[in-house]
Subunit: 232 residues, 2 copies
């Protein structure tokens, strides 16, 4: 074990993956899983798996592996995922609404309890099963709700003030989908999910040499049918 220094962030990210892997393995009927089995399922090397787990204790039995159920429970507790977590979203536009309806969150025991916007034409409207709330009321409302996890799905220009308001409202960790940096007080954590950046990174790894035409070729369903006809 190595409880001295806190686990590196990449380890935490992988633990989340192990947890998912374990839950799937359980559904598959597996009761025990070796680090080599986890490698097969996740692509993360068995040595890495063992080292990651060793940051938090000794979970396995030599010669056998890890008890799926037990390890899942213990990892869930470490990650604070052993009970439902409440989240809020700010921004009820295109992306915010999609996030509000994302079933992946629900399946992983996240519970969306509020969605805010500043646009009067949106406030009061329903998104999935929630009313869109007035962002001006966040401080008051969250004094009762106590949500600690916030997601920013607004345009970049208002992201900072949204983050400020979240922090004032008691939010402790923020997932920022807006393409801008937000500054928060020490103790509050921000992670950025920058969709454009992800695409841009991929572009760099695009094979060189094939200069793309600037004329786009957009094909509609009907045209598609034609092509199919032509080729069959």
């Amino acid at each position: 074990m190595n409880t001295n220094k806190s686990a590196p962030e990449p380890t935490i990210a992988r633990i989340a993956l192990y947890l998912r892997c374990l839950r799937i393995a359980k559904q598959d009927g597996a009761t025990t899983l070796s680090s080599a089995d986890i490698e097969k399922r996740t692509g993360i090397s068995s040595g890495q798996v063992r080292k990651d787990l060793s940051f938090f204790g000794e979970f396995g039995k030599p010669g056998l592996g890890y008890a799926v159920d037990e390890l899942a429970q213990r990892l869930a507790r470490i990650m604070r995922l052993d009970h439902p977590q409440e989240i809020m979203i700010v921004g009820a536009g295109n992306l915010g609404s999609a996030l509000a309806g994302y079933t992946g969150f629900t399946e992983s025991d996240f519970h969306l309890v509020a969605i805010y916007d500043n646009n009067f034409s949106k406030i009061g409207r329903r998104v999935w099963d929630l009313d869109i709330l007035d962002i001006e009321q966040m401080e008051e409302l969250n004094a009762k709700m106590g949500v600690q996890i916030g997601m920013i799905a607004t345009p970049a220009r208002v992201a900072q003030e949204v983050a400020d308001r979240m922090v004032r409202s008691g939010v402790r960790v923020v997932l920022n989908f807006s393409p801008t940096r937000v500054v928060v007080p020490k103790g509050v954590i921000v992670r950025n999910v920058d969709l454009t950046q992800e695409l841009q990174i991929l572009c760099y790894y695009l094979p060189a040499g094939d200069q793309q035409e600037d004329a786009f070729t957009t094909i509609s369903s009907d045209a598609a049918k034609n092509i199919e006809d032509e080729t069959e």
Copy 2:
């Protein structure tokens, strides 16, 4: 300069951020920017900025800094972002539709040219300004379109076969939003955007000790109004 070894991935990710920073700086009227200025805007240390840039050449003038316009152009070329890039999406559900309408892509000169689904009740319907295409036709259609960037916005259980089809269709880089690992041949690059994982990582950093109640407090607009009345 250091053209021997290829730039590390974290450097590539930051270059994308510098590029965004430069474009904003240009709009602000800046013609020149020092690495210290970039630090102020991005939060990335000036030394890191200089080292990152040094992987690709010498762009700055001692005593002055970097010419905004020129650096932006050169970085754009390095990142293959100096001309529009075509993308496709598979999965026209909740998330896929939101991605299709995400203005951030368009603003950064990405051009969505096709969205596919396998659900007959969706195929042919319109999402934003595109018809939803039958995924069965991807190989044929993309033979003409030549899209090299694909985004997977499907349930996990079909992600692998979608990735396989993309690769057969000529896609070279993949942005995978489904919560599962997809395996692709050498030479094809996959990046994962795992929304649930991001939330789970944040949970780990949640302050300890405050065990949340499992009873949710969801507040509707009307209740919200009441609270406001009470407190004002």
